[in-house]
């Protein structure tokens, strides 16, 4: 459908027009082109002549692109506020995922392991599935958010700076985040789950990399 407008699509995406607006514009242009072709054919033109006449009537790529690019309201938020899309939103998403993971850990500890000093013990049955969701969320969130950033950057033909900033932020947070648990104060009561952001793992990784580099060198 949108094949005749692949050049226009690239032009619009590179100019920062939101993909949903591009998709709709191209869909309507394709329909319009078909109507024009039909009209030209009814007027007695051959299919090839009708096609080229319809193209001319519809407008050139530059003209069609300019009409869309000129209106700021069609620009994607990734272009209008990249700091929010690649700086704030990924951090909020990751924070939300960590919060849910901690809630799962805390509630699972309370319901499946009452009386235990820690939730990090051998479990069985439904508890494996329940804690598994939290585990996947905790370990997977930085990866999923990173993929999301990459996907958006490629889909919208963005320059690399802001997506790269977002990826660095997510990597740093993912590296330094740690879950801490404290045993219940009252026997049989609920324990305490919290998150700390310690640079220790990052420093250890940096030392390991430096050590590895010198060993190889």
């Amino acid at each position: 459908m949108a094949k005749p407008f692949s050049e226009l699509r690239e032009c619009l995406l590179r100019a920062g027009v939101a993909p949903r607006h591009v998709r709709r514009y191209l869909t309507e242009l394709a329909d319009h082109l078909n109507d024009l072709k039909a009209e030209e054919e009814r007027a007695g033109h051959s299919p090839a002549d009708a096609e080229s006449a319809a193209r001319i009537r519809l407008g050139g790529t530059d003209e069609l692109a300019k009409a869309m690019i000129e209106q700021r309201q069609f620009q994607s938020w990734c272009v209008r506020a990249p700091w929010a899309m690649f700086g704030v939103a990924p951090v909020l998403l990751l924070s939300g995922a960590y919060l849910v993971a901690c809630l799962i850990l805390w509630s699972g500890w309370k319901f499946f392991l009452p009386g235990n000093d820690t939730p990090f013990v051998q479990i069985d049955g439904f508890a494996i599935f329940y804690f598994g969701i939290g585990r996947v969320l905790y370990f997977g969130a930085p990866i999923f958010v990173g993929w999301g950033i990459g996907f958006i950057a490629v889909r919208q033909r963005l320059r690399t700076v802001w997506p790269f900033v977002g990826l660095i932020l997510i990597t740093l947070i993912g590296c330094v985040a740690q879950v801490r648990v404290r045993r219940p104060v009252v026997p049989g009561g609920a324990g305490h789950v919290s998150m700390v952001f310690s640079p220790d793992p990052l420093l250890r990784a940096a030392c390991f990399m430096v050590y590895g580099f010198f060993r190889l060198w």
């Binding site: 514009y25 869909t27 309507e28 242009l29 319009h32 109507d35 024009l36 519809l58 003209e63 309201q73």
Partner: protein
């Protein structure tokens, strides 16, 4: 202090005005709109066929138009119609255009400084 709006281009807002006027009467899709403008203005005003869509989409984002998908003769079309906000906008644009047209007419037919031509 209220500032006077400039008219850098006399055609500014004309496609909007024509589209809102047409769609106030009946819902239409893009191709129909372009043909209707051409037919009803005796081809004096021709809107760029493809560039009508950014105007339609912009009006829809502003809440002046609403759209719906409809299948007609086996083809899915996006039909546009005017909202209440669009009717108000049409009234404002019509008034602005009438004022502008009256001012130009007055100028052409001779004002206080005599005949223009």
């Amino acid at each position: 202090m209220k500032t006077r709006e400039a008219n850098p281009n006399f055609m500014n807002g004309v496609p909007e005005l024509l589209i809102l006027k047409l769609l106030q009467q009946e819902e239409m899709y893009g191709y129909e709109i372009v043909q209707a403008i051409r037919n009803r203005t005796d081809a004096v005003i021709t809107v760029g066929e493809g560039v009508v869509y950014p105007v339609l989409h912009g009006l829809e984002i502003d809440g002046a138009l609403k759209s719906r998908r409809k299948t007609v003769n086996g083809r899915r079309r996006i039909y546009y119609s005017v909202t209440a906000a669009g009717s108000h906008r049409l009234a404002d644009l019509s008034e602005a255009w009438n004022n502008l047209a009256a001012a130009i007419q007055k100028m052409l037919t001779g004002g206080q400084h005599g005949e223009a031509f």
